[in-house]
């Protein structure tokens, strides 16, 4: 698999995961770029010991974790207690709400749910995060509950 193929296949996924973590469009773009700089530089050393997706998502999520050192632009938005009833929310509103809900989670939970939403198998998420499959299963369950509560609390998209 060459770099261009990898980039075309994974860049949208990496961008969404970074966006889930930082909730900031420009920073997510920067992190995506940094991820592919690392991929480009180290592609020749990739030895197929893990899946290429695991390798790339590890680089991306570690970059996200490192982002805390660079600045504190990670956007946490206080969700309003009661949102007014809007006749029809746009897809963009729904997405913004989802990002804001994710931004309220702890860092590792943000990474896990972003990978879940990217449809990665739980075994692969476990390899990326460094937890056992069992732990990931429990965590995913808890995060889903937290998100569901947030969605219910705010009466969104019911």
């Amino acid at each position: 698999m060459d770099f261009e193929q990898i980039y075309n296949q994974y860049s949208p996924q990496i961008f969404r995961v970074c966006m889930g973590y930082v909730n900031d469009y420009e920073q997510a773009k920067d992190l995506t770029q940094e991820t592919f700089i690392s991929v480009w530089r180290n592609l020749s050393t990739f030895r197929n010991q893990s899946k290429i997706s695991t390798w790339i998502f590890r680089i991306a999520t570690n970059n996200c974790l490192r982002a805390l050192e660079k600045n504190s632009r990670i956007t946490k938005v206080e969700l309003p207690f009661h949102l007014p009833d809007v006749p029809e929310e746009t897809q963009e509103d729904k997405l913004t709400f989802l990002y804001n809900c994710i931004a309220e989670l702890e860092e590792i939970d943000r990474i896990i749910i972003s990978l879940v939403l990217e449809d990665l198998p739980q075994a692969e998420i476990a390899a990326i995060v460094g937890l056992s499959h069992g732990n990931i299963r429990i965590k995913v369950h808890r995060i889903k509950d937290k998100l569901a509560t947030k969605f219910k609390d705010h009466g969104q998209f019911e």
Partner: protein, 198 residues
């Protein structure tokens, strides 16, 4: 609408078309220069050059005074401390982020602790060697001429005092605050992984 499939459907609506295409990305990567990394490389090269010059001086200028020999040795030792510390940090920088998040967090925490140690101990020791070396090295050239002696030592001592009591504490305070905040944050993220382990 709160089940996972609905969330996935919303998640996938994120617009990614403003990302550069693969050709643009290759162009960006080729142009990319890591400024922080370049700064460390420049520092290491400068220090190696200075050590080289100092060794060259030892062979060219054959001093008979012990103070000059001590001065040269101390300055070289301080240079070696700076080079080895910065080379070490360069090598760590190149350690690829392909490990799991858990291992990477441990690596980051360790790096920050090493940085803290650098500011608290290594830098102090290297600066002490360098300052002592400089003062000892100047003696032979200046001791015969009182005016030169006073001028050289006043200037050097003033410079060292400013460096030691003004510049260093300021940099140390700023860096230490930043590093402590990072360590605290990293510890809180590590807890999120470690506390839930079965």
């Amino acid at each position: 609408m709160d089940n996972l499939n609905d969330l996935k459907a919303i998640w996938l609506t994120a617009k990614t078309d403003s990302l550069p295409d693969s050709h643009e990305m290759v162009h960006i990567i080729r142009k990319f220069r890591n400024k922080k990394l370049l700064k460390i490389v420049a520092l290491v090269i400068t220090m190696i050059l200075l050590i080289g010059i100092m060794i060259w001086v030892i062979f060219v200028y054959k001093s008979t005074m012990l103070s000059t020999r001590f001065g040269e040795a101390f300055i070289i030792i301080s240079g070696i401390i700076f080079v080895s510390t910065n080379l070490n940090s360069l090598l760590r920088f190149y350690k690829l982020r392909v490990c799991s998040n858990k291992e990477f967090l441990q690596f980051l925490e360790q790096t920050r602790l090493r940085q803290q140690f650098y500011y608290r101990r290594t830098q102090v020791v290297a600066m002490a060697f360098c300052a002592t070396g400089l003062l000892a090295y100047l003696y032979e050239g200046a001791y015969k001429n009182t005016m030169l002696f006073i001028g050289a030592y006043t200037g050097t001592v003033l410079y060292l005092l400013v460096l030691w009591f003004v510049v260093r504490p300021r940099v140390f305070k700023k860096e230490e605050k930043k590093i402590n905040a990072q360590i605290e944050k990293l510890e809180s993220i590590s807890k999120q992984i470690n506390n839930d382990e079965i």
